[in-house]
């Protein structure tokens, strides 16, 4: 007789603004149903942003929606407010924003690659990738003064310039990544263990990806050529010839599995390197911010009225902010943040159903929800709850890898 069990993954799970608890129904080893509970990390950021003293303070709040993509959320907010207040951004600032965005993409994708390797029990690769990642962190620190949260963007421009002495370091970093790329591609795409654990696992069909509105690398790995930088460009992106990357560029065909998501992210690192190179060559000179005096800027935002939607291609997918300003009202009147994981977690269901418990870590991690942190797992059986740690799941995953290698 088949027994149905319920597994709860989480709740200590800090994806963007919502750490998630996944409740998985299993029959034997097979997953039959998936439910997501997402209240653990709710900090009420939209409410806080709508009740701060002024719109500038909300930028710093937007940065803390997610510590990993801390450039995309403030960018999105800033773009929406600039549209309402009709602030024209200087040309140089638009290029600096592009470079900052792509630096962030490199660090985020490498971070994810390390986590994915860890979920498969390939810790050597985790350590190697994170060592490689430190190079971009050094550049971020050099340019911005901080490793993670950068506080670089401001309404009407950026707060710090990329100086001549920085350019040299950035170019050195690009060369370093060009060399490291072939090695990374070899580890991730040619390794037998990696292929066995990721090929034909967690498939998301093109149909499902479209109906569930998947975004970013998750959608592109299923063959949808969708990229905000290409379709609905912002900043200086129209100047660059950007195309949405799908896995068939490298492998010749699209499956929509975990392997394809790795391919897309690796190719995007390469794309980011090229974009930064081009941006450094083409960067115009001039001002970096439209209005230097914050008091004047605040007065301008206070006098504006209207609503706008801004979209940004974050490392994890499309980020979208809706902002409404009212005349004489200093903070944001209405603000809605939609992080990419918010919509991508819907895709977990078709990805997970039909696969094994040992595949949960890598499939869940494949949409890049930052599964790196502590998960706690409870198995509910006859109303009694037994609590396991994430290590238990991780161990299952590692065991499966070993079994496949025999």
């Amino acid at each position: 007789m088949a027994h149905e069990y319920e597994l709860s993954i989480g709740p200590i799970h800090p994806a963007l603004k919502e750490p998630i608890m996944i409740r998985v129904k299993v029959e034997g080893e097979e997953i039959v149903d998936v439910d997501v509970i997402a209240s653990q990390n709710h900090r009420g950021i939209e409410w806080l942003g709508m009740n701060r003293n002024n719109a500038i303070q909300s930028i710093y709040l937007a940065e803390r929606v997610c510590g990993i993509c801390n450039f995309c959320h403030p960018s999105c907010l800033v773009m929406a407010v600039e549209e309402i207040a009709d602030i024209e951004v200087p040309e140089r600032a638009q290029y600096i924003r592009v470079i900052q965005g792509e630096l962030e993409r490199i660090h985020s994708h490498l971070l994810w690659a390390g986590v994915a390797a860890h979920e498969l029990g390939f810790d050597t690769l985790l350590h190697y990738v994170w060592m490689v990642r430190e190079k971009v962190m050094d550049v971020l620190e050099l340019v911005n003064g901080n490793r993670v949260t950068k506080s670089i963007i401001m309404y009407g421009g950026v707060r710090r310039d990329i100086k001549e002495e920085h350019v040299e370091h950035i170019r050195k970093m690009l060369d370093y990544y060009r060399n490291a790329f072939s090695k990374l591609a070899k580890f991730f795409l040619e390794d037998k263990t990696m292929e066995k654990r990721t090929r034909e696992i967690g498939i998301l069909t093109e149909r499902d990806a479209i109906e569930l509105a998947a975004v970013g690398p998750t959608a592109r790995a299923s063959g949808i050529k969708k990229d905000v930088r290409q379709d609905f460009p912002y900043f200086a992106y129209p100047d660059f010839d950007i195309h949405a990357i799908t896995p068939d560029e490298l492998t010749g065909y699209t499956v929509g599995d975990v392997y394809d998501r790795i391919v897309v992210r690796l190719l995007e690192v390469k794309q980011s390197i090229d974009i930064i190179e081009e941006a450094l060559n083409e960067m115009p000179s001039g001002e970096i911010i439209a209005e230097k005096k914050l008091v004047k800027l605040m007065a301008k935002i206070k006098a504006s009225e209207g609503e706008a939607v801004a979209r940004y291609e974050a490392p994890r997918g499309e980020d979208i902010h809706y902002v409404k300003l009212k005349k004489g009202f200093e903070p944001l009147y209405s603000w809605k943040v939609r992080a990419p994981t918010y919509i991508n977690i819907l895709s977990w269901r078709p990805m997970l159903v039909g696969y094994q418990i040992a595949d949960i870590p890598i499939i869940a991690a494949s949409i890049d929800p930052c599964m790196s942190c502590t998960n706690r797992i409870a198995v509910v059986k006859d109303g009694k709850e037994r609590i396991f740690t994430s290590d238990y799941f991780h161990e299952l995953s590692v065991k499966k890898t070993r079994r496949l290698m025999k």
Binding site: E18, A38, S39, H42, G44, E46, W47, M50, E83, E91, Q94, Y95, E206, R207, I210, E211, L212, A213, G223, I224, K225, K226, V228, Q230, D231, F232, P233, Y234, F235, A236, Y237, P238, D239, H243, A244, E282, P284, E307, A308, V309, R311, E318, I320, Y322, K324, Y333, S334, K336, R338, Y342, I343, I345, L346
Partner: protein
Amino acid sequence: MGVSGGGGEKMNAEEAMKKFQDNGYEAWLSSRNAGVKNRVERKTLWVKVERDSIREAAEFLKNMADEYPHFSIISCSDEGEYMCLNYHFTLSYARRLQEFIVTLKVDVPKDDLRIDSIADIFPAIIYSEREIKEMAGVEFNGIPDDRHMFLTKDFPSGVYPWRRDETAPKETNKLYERWKNGA
């Protein structure tokens, strides 16, 4: 109706606006430029929809487009007498420079905060409807799943963080307040 991609030009924002207007909807465009050397215009189409006809409008949007509309999010804004819900979609995606945003604007009066769910037309909308329900207090008729999305199960009822009236949260973090007062 193709799933995605496909050859040739896709519908642009003006054509979509015309289609909505021909069907009796009030629709208007807003635009914003991007790029430095290559200036391009990015367009947003706003469509006013009556509360009772949200299902027809959603069906209309789904049928008129070349591809499956990409649902983004429902945002909401407190306008005093009513709550304004904005259903954000994008059309003509997966094409360089062709994508545009379609926003359906619906006013829901505060004395009767209910609207039909469209989760059966666009399955991806379900999380957003659950979120609006708990954050703004709007009931969705026929919503397949009405549990809390982001707030805890024991969050006080009648408190809606996204409202700007007396139902907005007044009691903030108690421990923090105690700490602030030096206790």
